[in-house]
């Protein structure tokens, strides 16, 4: 008999219909006993398990989560579990940054013949979770734990116009006059401008305020309606064009790219910039040689040095200011879904309210949808009216992509997209 005061963990298991669910069934029919602490949710395939479900399990009170499916090679749909494995490798890194307890998230492969393994896994997880105790750390904002990151000193801004501005204007004027393009998406005095007449080409500027990634306009219906476009990009922005093209968001022949060689804009990301002259533009203005930056530890490193509890307290504090204006999404070149998951309300899959839970759900969804896609332009953090360091989430995923897969978004045009592809060699030391 259990002591009445003993903690009984609640464990939620997301399992695939073809292997683990049948494994659980086999455990039952062969009368193998396992703890009753587990609740099973059956899904068609591990490849179909939305990452949000893992977070949601904790939100509704689970103390641990198990995700289990077919062994590699056994997937009923050929490769669902390979896709899932790649996503989990990345998703674990994001959860780690946010301060989730990875000891409470378990991944296993259990086949239909492994009733015994199912029994063992459930028993082990139950015992382990019992030792860990209830998951009270979730979204805990102990003020004593919330630390701030060191902030770089910002220098007073001084507007500086670059020498190639006139060359850019001449190029735009020519493209519009010839009829090569109907609109030039460029930088203007107050912000981005859409120039449609050759005589307006002088509205274009090229200065140290030209920091925006103008690839964001390629998704806008209002811009598509204007006809064939030329877009002004820096070498960093050009990487988003490469990802967008890979994702079939436009055909290269339908876009004219004006590449601006750039010697840096005093943005934090500029310190780590290697390629200074765009490589794939139709017209390149100026020439700046490549550099070899020395990577310096930054805010992300300071954050990862904090304890798990401190990291979560940090994010609770940051997200507390979020008003869900969705500027981070709107200015992102990669966020082009016709209808975003947070705008879907039949049924609601992400809590639309800007409370702790809804804000975590939103920022996790945003960051993870950009895994292996974000090129680090920093537009999200720059647009945030309440100063949330959103780039850190994306940066963590970019680091994970590099660390586990040697992948960098928008660098190698011949590379396969990271998420959406898989390899049988993807590591799985965390999968039981």
């Amino acid at each position: 008999m259990n002591d009445a005061t003993q903690f009984e963990p609640k464990i939620l298991a997301y399992v695939c219909n073809w292997c683990t669910y049948l494994g659980a069934d086999l455990a039952g029919t062969t009368r193998l006993e396992y703890p009753p602490n587990i609740r099973i949710v059956r899904l068609p395939c591990t490849g179909r398990i939305d990452f949000n479900l893992l977070v949601k399990a904790f939100e509704v009170g689970a103390d641990a989560v198990l995700v289990s499916g077919c062994h590699p090679g056994d997937c009923h749909y050929t490769s669902g579990n390979y896709h899932a494995r790649r996503r989990w490798i990345l998703f674990r890194e994001l959860l780690d940054l946010l301060g989730f307890d990875l000891e409470r998230i378990h991944f296993t492969w259990i086949s239909a013949a492994e009733g015994k393994k199912f029994q063992q896994v459930v028993t082990d997880i139950t015992e382990k979770t019992r030792k860990l105790g209830p998951y009270t750390e979730l979204y805990a904002a102990a003020p004593a734990l919330a630390k701030d990151l060191p902030q770089p000193q910002s220098k007073p801004f001084q507007l500086q116009t670059f020498a190639t501005e006139n060359e850019l204007r001449a190029e735009a004027r020519k493209l519009l006059a010839e009829g090569t393009v109907k609109v030039v998406i460029g930088y203007g005095e107050r912000g981005p401008v859409l120039v449609t007449r050759p005589e307006d080409a002088d509205r274009l500027v090229w200065n140290n305020r030209s920091t925006a990634n103008l690839a964001m306009y390629l998704k806008r219906k209002e811009v598509k309606a204007l006809g064939r476009a030329a877009v002004v990009v820096k070498a960093c922005d050009e990487r988003s064009l490469m990802v967008l093209e890979k994702e079939s968001q436009f055909e290269r022949k339908d876009l004219h790219v004006i590449g601006m060689a750039c010697d840096g804009m005093e943005q934090p990301r500029c310190a780590n910039c290697a390629v200074r002259t765009p490589r794939f533009a139709d017209t390149t203005v100026g020439q700046v040689p490549d550099q070899t930056p020395t990577p310096r530890p930054g805010k992300l490193d300071s954050l990862m040095e904090m304890s798990r509890g401190e990291r979560m307290a940090f994010w609770v504090q940051e997200f507390d200011r979020c008003v869900k204006c969705y500027a981070c999404r709107q200015v992102c070149s990669m966020c082009y879904c016709e209808r975003c998951i947070v705008d879907k309300n039949q049924p609601i899959s992400i809590d639309p309210a800007p409370g702790t839970k809804g804000n975590f759900a939103w920022h996790i969804a945003r960051a993870f949808h950009l895994a292996g896609r974000c090129i680090g332009c920093g537009a999200c953090a720059q647009a945030c009216p309440v100063g949330i360091d959103l780039g850190l989430l994306n940066m963590q995923l970019a680091r994970a992509a590099k660390k586990h897969f040697g992948y960098q978004a928008g660098v190698d045009p011949s590379a396969e997209l990271l998420v959406g592809a898989f390899s049988q060699q993807d590591k799985e030391e965390f999968i039981g």
């Binding site: 639309p352 309210a353 809804g358 647009a383």
Partner: protein
Amino acid sequence: MSELITETKLRQLAGEWISGGRRVVGPVRIKDRVLYRPLQSPEPLLIESTPGGSVRPANSIKEFFFPKLETLYQYRTRGRNIELIEPAQEFAEQLIIAARPCDAAALPILDHVFNWDFADDFYNRRRAATTIVTVACSVADESCFCTSVGLAPDDARGSDAILLTLGSGRYEVQCITAKGRALFSGKTETSEESGKAAPAPERKFDPSRIRAFVDGHFEDALWAEHGRTCMACGVCAFSCPTCHCFDIVDAGAVAGNARVRTWDTCQFPIFTLHASGHNPRALQPARQRQRILHKFSIYPEKFGEILCTGCGNCVRNCPVGLGVLNMLTEIQHGQHL
């Protein structure tokens, strides 16, 4: 004769409220931004704008009356029965200190809409429980346009008390309401000096001219010209002291157990999306037009006041350099009439 308070005394006053367990809100620095936030202690409070720094906080004080998340009620379903639970809301006394006049002035304007066909209890009770102390602006920037909508850097509208700087950390206190007098009673010294605000920003447009234009130009090339670079985020509306549109959604655990009110904005494409899939404001220029129309024509027609205090937040915060001012100055100076 005037009344005077020192910065030290003012911080002491805020400190007393905080240690008394009451909420005190004021501008604080958060990274490279200044925001109105509840204060844990009076030290980080930024009373005045620092030269070269931001002129005013990037958010507005409306969120302390009309919060971004308001639980209207909770519910529990038991079989076929639904049990409604009133939220255990406390509308405790709060003090907003060192607000800008363009924030305080928004509240009397918002009072109309929150008490029009339905008196909004949440808003009204917070209004009644709040004391607002403003500081007359000591600087203005190119995005400021309070004078164009009939206000001024030292306008006391909506304030319970207003402070005017005398330099070296001393302020002249002008108590406007009983709440303001109660707050400063016994805390001030008498003085012969009188404080002053920054020179008023020049008038940039005439609201009646704007209204005449928007009323007569529902279809105009200007809307497309300005509206198509808009990225459809909610920064302008959510940092605006007067924008007040909201949505009502279910939030909470999976079973759903709270009905909450959240901010919404006409800039979001789904704001006007019909269940049929039709969207009467299909593209962004129509949504930008709506924002101007509501502020300078619809609201004045209904309530006799412009729905704008000229704070300039929409201009400063816009990620793509828009905001109402640019469009309004173009209407003012353009060949559009």
